[in-house]
Amino acid sequence: MNSSRPNAIRTASIGWVIFTVIGEVIYLLLAPILAANGAIPVVASQRLADAYTIMYIFTIAAIPVFTLVVTFVGYAIYAFWNKGRPTEDGPAITGNARLQLTWILISIALAGFLYVVGFQGLAAIQASPQSNAIVVNVTGEQWLWNYSYPGYKNAGSTTLMLPINHQILFRIHSIDVQHSFWIPELGVKEDAVPGEINQATITPTRLGTYQVRCMELCGIYHAYMNTPVEVVSMSDFLSWVQAQPPVVAPPSAYVLPSLSAPVALVGVGKSS
């Protein structure tokens, strides 16, 4: 029996508290510095700021869990290390019902907490778009993005221009394979699926030039499917969009719901 360390649990618990405090302090000090120096993209929308707040809260909650496991396992290794092959067994402890129950209850509470935190953000994402949102049709194709603005005489462009502080409704579509439309700085990401129109809303809150990236492997030049996106003032946006040539006809993809007269298919009506 190992009776030489009667206070093992107390010692490890104190260690856990100390390491947790140290970990939290380091994280709280370091996180803003890292964030300002390129660890995360520039935050250009409230949505993304909220997402990072959630990650921030998660990390604060994760540090005690991490230090708990690491401190207790680390202390066990330090204190109960048997040099060489043990000649006798440890104590025959087969469990501790109260501890097991407590552990389960705490992990349920933690999971519930995470869910509540995440659900707040989800509600904002799921909210239906405002009626005055500027609609932008996004069409993915191997390996570039096309945009059109149906509210502005279907002005078309291959660069994305967005007004600041106004809600944008992206209607995202693909004409070939699956792509994923992502603007890291705005925190909007939605797959472009052929045959379907996906919607995503975002309100940019910071002027600047950012990048659209494809996040779903879409073939040979997937790595190069990046195009610029500019967030400008509303007046700049209006003068820009009115100067764009209209797309002559909307891509066939956008008339899908009314495409009710199917073209004759190859091989149909084979005599039997």
Partner: protein, 683 residues
């Protein structure tokens, strides 16, 4: 079949190597496989295609001069005939024919001959039913798969060491990514169930063999031919539309319609993965049946070793989830070869005549033809398999860690039933979380809240494993062997993998991180740092029983530290670059990600070098290692109570189990572990 039957009749000699023992063997299997491939290929290409199908309007590709379609059809049937030739050649179908023709049922002596009785090394190169031979065969094959997959990983890291693609052309790089993903998935699915599920589990539960020994050998034969076909992927180029060349540029998710459009390598790939899936389903059926029906007297479910629980959970997932992926792969093959439209919404060419979608017939004049397929179908079929599959890989590692911690802490497992609750809770929940892979797909976005909840719930049973680990270590007498080090590193790595997974379960955070390097790093923490390092520890732990040799401890420790330092730095750095916003599976990236990628690549080389050192250790120890005693670790489970090398039917008399597998620290009474005569109870 004629060769197989004739060969089996002629192997009546007692010992030593005879040429007749090569008939049937893997040699005859390989010969018939090659014959089958050419037979199938030219049957379609030169006979069925142009003479029976062309112009009849019954199949696509019947336009005049449209030979390309027949080429891919021919390729598909070539591989199917190849597999058929292989099974006939190795003699796997002999029993089917003897049964079907109403011949005499094989008696025990014939069963033993099939199990390799009195055969020398040749039994490792033929259709042998002994579960221990199959286990060793799996160990070697899985190691080879891991080695090739690791080589592909090093190619990826070489490409990504600096921004600006240099090492490989982009299409080759994408093929490497695809092959790395699928090969590693197939290897890690098999790496516990194959070697240890076959070799160790029947002994652990006190059985003489698996429930269906022929099925067991058959499931290995499936994996072997699957890997042979997998090797074709980079080399087949049937000049398909789009000019993507050989290989497969889809990533391991094989999403349609990209899979319909990619290189011809998709055909050997789909055939290979279907065969590997059948192999794992057969293996799973066999293992579940073995554990349900063949436990020794007294081996109740609450006396099963934890490793058996891990394997069983994994087998359940394998049996229930793999069908989904098989359906997906069949659809890809049909889309590809027979021009169905499962994943193709509509097809057409744009104004410049560039073919845009898949390889369906296309007018190329801007006209769109609706097909009615749906790409979301591909995502759902894939991830309904894909998410249980990640637990399929990790659960045996959970079981293994909980198996060895009591042995090396010399203490009973802390909370045996809690551990089972953890494993089984993960098993059940893993079927309810697959749509968290589709948070940004646009498919039923209203369900995101539900899948967020189930995904966060899965952290509860997973957390129980950590409780069991800490409780078992606490106040034990820790014996720091190499397997113990690997078990402890599992706790560290899987903890990081689990905590980073929590971020991805949350919809707002996942929207930012989805599809990026953060995800890649997260699942490598669970697969590599968790499951794969668990496998390395398990090899070290069971090596004495499987080969009769101890592994070299000093080399093992050097490799352990090299692996863990290399792995942790490489993938923590990858987590960072994922947070910065680097996408997955890109051949090239923004210079802003350069530093972290450089660090990842350098430490990935360290990881690879350490794994090479570990394999060197395995090979050298296997050939010339120190001879192992029957129970070098002083463990209590049944496999350590029988002599090494393990005799053909494991137990002379089936032991009677009278207590749990981890009764350390209790007064030792003779026969408390088993009632078998001559069985020692380790102190």
């Amino acid at each position: 079949m004629a060769t197989a039957t004739a060969g089996a009749e002629s192997t009546t000699t007692r010992t030593g190597f005879q040429v007749s023992k090569l008939f049937p063997s893997y040699l005859t299997g390989a010969i018939l496989a090659v014959v089958g491939y050419f037979a199938g290929y030219y049957l379609i290409k030169s006979f069925v295609g142009p003479h029976l199908l062309a112009g009849t309007g019954t199949v696509p590709g019947n336009e005049p001069g449209d030979t390309y379609n027949f080429t891919e059809q021919a390729l598909l049937w070539g591989f199917i005939f190849m597999a058929a030739g292989w099974f006939i050649g190795v003699g796997a179908l002999k029993y089917v024919f003897t049964w079907l023709l109403g011949m005499k049922d094989p008696d025990h002596a014939e069963e033993m001959k099939l199990a390799g009785k009195d055969d020398g090394w040749i039994r490792y190169f033929r259709f042998t039913t002994d579960h221990k031979v199959v286990g060793i065969q799996y160990l070697v094959l899985v190691s080879l798969m891991l080695a090739v997959g690791g080589l592909l990983a090093m190619m990826i890291r070489t490409e990504l060491i600096f921004p600006g693609a240099r090492a490989f052309p982009t299409e080759t790089y994408n093929t490497i990514v695809t092959m790395h993903g699928l090969l590693m998935i197939m290897a890690t699915i098999s790496m516990f169930i194959g070697p240890f599920g076959n070799f160790i589990v029947p002994i652990m539960i006190g059985a003489r063999d698996m429930a269906f020994p022929r099925l067991n050998a058959l499931s290995f034969a499936f994996l072997l031919i699957s890997m042979a076909i997998f090797a074709f992927i980079p080399f087949v180029d049937m000049g398909q539309a789009g000019g993507a060349g050989g290989g497969v540029q889809t990533g391991w998710t094989l999403y349609g319609p990209l899979a319909d459009q990619t290189g011809s390598g998709i055909i050997p790939l789909a055939v290979s993965v279907i065969l590997a899936g059948v192999s794992s389903m057969l293996g799973a059926v066999n293992l579940i049946t073995t554990v349900m029906a063949m436990r020794a007297p007294g081996m109740t479910y609450t006396r099963l070793p934890m490793f058996v629980w891990g394997i069983i959970a994994s087998a359940i997932l394998s049996a229930l989830a793999t069908s989904s992926f098989t359906v997906d792969l069949v659809m890809i093959l049909l889309d590809r070869v027979y021009k169905t439209g499962f994943f193709i919404a509509s097809t057409g060419g744009n104004a410049t005549g560039v073919y845009l979608i898949g390889s369906n017939p296309m007018p190329g004049n801007g006209q769109t033809i609706p097909i009615g397929g749906n790409a979301w179908l591909s995502q759902n079929l894939f991830w309904f398999f894909g998410h249980p599959e990640v637990y399929l890989i990790v659960l045996p590692a959970f079981g293994w860690v909980m198996e060895v911690l009591p042995v090396f802490a010399r203490k009973p497992l802390f909370g045996y039933k809690t551990g089972i609750l953890g494993i089984m809770g993960v098993t059940v929940l893993s079927f309810l979380v697959w749509m968290h892979h589709e948070f940004v797909s646009g498919f039923l976005p209203e369900l995101r809240g539900f899948y967020m909840a189930t995904t966060e719930m899965i952290s509860i049973p997973t957390g129980l494993v950590f409780l069991v680990a800490i409780g078992t270590l606490w106040r034990g007498k820790l014996w720091m062997t190499v397997p113990m080090l690997f078990a402890l590193s599992f706790v560290w790595n899987f903890l990081i993998g689990g905590l980073t997974g929590v971020y991805l379960s949350d919809v707002p955070a996942d929207i930012q991180l989805h599809g990026g390097m953060f995800v890649t790093a997260h699942f490598h923490f669970t697969f590599v740092g968790g499951a794969l390092f668990g496998f390395f520890g398990a090899v070290y732990y069971w090596m004495p029983k499987m080969t009769g040799r101890m592994m070299d401890e000093r080399l093992g420790q050097i490799a352990f530290w090299g692996m863990n330092i290399g792995f942790n730095v490489a993938f923590l750095s990858m987590l960072y670059v994922g947070l910065q916003g680097m996408p997955r599976r890109v051949a090239d990236y923004d210079p802003a990600f350069a530093t972290a990628n450089f660090i990842t690549s350098i430490f990935a080389y360290l990881l690879a070098a350490s794994i090479v050192l570990y394999f060197y250790n395995i090979i050298v120890s296997w050939i010339a290692g120190e001879k192992a005693e029957a129970n070098p670790w002083g463990a209590k489970t049944l496999e350590w109570q029988i002599p090494t090398p393990v005799p053909l039917e494991n137990f002379e008399e089936i032991p009677v189990v009278t207590s749990g597998p981890y009764d350390y620290g209790e007064p030792v009474t003779a026969g408390s572990s088993t009632g078998a005569p001559g069985v020692q109870v380790a102190g």
